[in-house]
């Protein structure tokens, strides 16, 4: 597969735009999946995954063909996702305590529906629930957990994609697992 990809990349570099369609075809589902799990929104995931493929195309001349193309592509994709997450980060959280009150968080400020948020989560379908729990993870843990357990990549590959030492990747996976465990236990 790598040989085929490298062949297509050479064709693209020579100006054959159609050869890029094959590359998109090979990696579209993997990249889209990462983006969807990171962002939790189909429209945004499609947008960011497309953007990643376009950036890869534009910067294809700087890609080192001795390395794995998927690693490079994932790197572009995860960076775009992290940027997007940081941009849309709200400046308040439902969990935050309301100033001047004691023990009152934003949840209590929302007009209480018939259902408590906890009950609503418990009634979620399993797949929605998984996505919900992933989206609650801080982004630095979210990316490693998605790459490790959704994409099933090796720790070495994750460290290359996120451009961080192997030790840092391990630490983040450990903390990510602990964070998820606590989220699941709180219900």
């Amino acid at each position: 597969m790598d040989a085929l990809v490298n062949k297509r990349i050479k064709q693209v570099l020579k100006g054959d735009q159609n050869a890029y369609a094959d590359i998109v075809n090979l990696y579209q589902h993997k990249l889209y999946q990462v983006c969807f799990r990171m962002l939790g929104n189909k429209q945004e995931a499609e947008d960011i995954a497309q953007e990643a493929f376009i950036r890869a195309y534009i910067n294809l001349h700087s890609y080192d063909q001795n390395r794995k193309f998927s690693t490079w592509l994932y790197r572009i994709g995860t960076n775009l996702c992290i940027d997007r997450i940081r941009k849309k980060k709200p400046d308040y959280y439902l969990d935050a305590e309301v100033a001047g009150t004691e023990g009152l968080d934003m949840y209590s400020q929302i007009a209480a529906d018939e259902q408590s948020p906890e009950a609503a989560v418990e009634q979620m379908e399993l797949q929605d629930r998984i996505q919900y729990e992933i989206s609650r993870l801080p982004d630095k843990y979210r990316s490693v957990i998605v790459l490790k357990y959704i994409e099933e990549l090796s720790l070495q590959e994750i460290s290359e994609i996120l451009d961080m030492p192997l030790g840092t990747v391990k630490t983040r996976i450990h903390r990510g697992r602990e964070a998820l465990r606590k989220q699941l236990n709180n219900l």
């Binding site: 890029y20 990249l31 497309q50 797949q127 357990y149 996976i173």
Partner: protein, 205 residues
């Protein structure tokens, strides 16, 4: 609550990463058998992993590939040319050389319609006609541009007429007589001239 050494939690994560050493694994196993709290912790972590791994595969929408291709920037021509230059430096150098060479040679082509003639003491110039009168001997070459030459006397050298006519009846020209009208001939003349000059330099030595 938990009072166990935190190293056991580290071991649990090493175990889950699949890179736990034999010693760590042994000590973790022994500890789990005696500590229900850690057993519970290990259990929850395994459940967490199983939970996240049960996520369904997500696939891109069917139109994804098409949309990416339609959004690709059109390759700019200048990029292609630049790349070509970079890949063929020798051809590039040759092309540049030819360009500049032809510019200098063609630049000296008499595209101005001004009449000119090599100055000699004993020739007669009337309008755009140069006459070598009968009985006169002109020493040296004569070049006439944009004019005609009539030779009735003698020329001890070459006669070159550019964009004009050479008219002679009883003329004696010791050298060559040339009429040049076309661009190509002008070039050819230039080259021959240059070559002759070169030869002259060598033969003078």
């Amino acid at each position: 609550m938990k009072t166990c050494a935190s190293k056991f939690v580290d071991y649990m994560h090493e175990y889950l990463d699949g890179d736990i050493s034999r010693e760590h694994e042994q000590s973790l196993k022994q500890h789990l058998q005696t500590c229900p709290d850690c057993q519970q912790h290990m259990h929850e972590l395994s459940d967490t992993v199983a939970f996240i791994k049960s996520a369904a595969h997500i696939t891109a929408p069917p139109s994804f590939e098409e949309q990416v291709i339609s959004r690709l920037p059109k390759r700019k021509n200048s990029v292609g040319i630049k790349r070509w230059f970079r890949q063929h430096p020798l051809l590039m150098a040759a092309a540049l050389f030819c360009l500049f060479m032809s510019a200098t040679v063609l630049g000296s082509f008499p595209n101005d319609n001004q009449f000119s003639v090599t100055k000699k003491p004993n020739i007669v110039v009337e309008g755009q006609t140069v006459t070598v009168p009968a009985g006169e001997v002109v020493k040296g070459d004569i070049v006439v541009k944009n004019g005609d030459i009539i030779i009735e006397g003698e020329v001890d050298g070459n006669v070159t007429v550019i964009n004009g006519n050479y008219m002679a009846s009883t003329a004696v020209v010791t050298g060559q007589v040339e009429e040049i009208d076309e661009m190509f001939e002008w070039l050819w003349f230039k080259i021959k001239d240059g070559f002759n000059n070169l030869m002259a330099v060598f033969s003078n030595k």
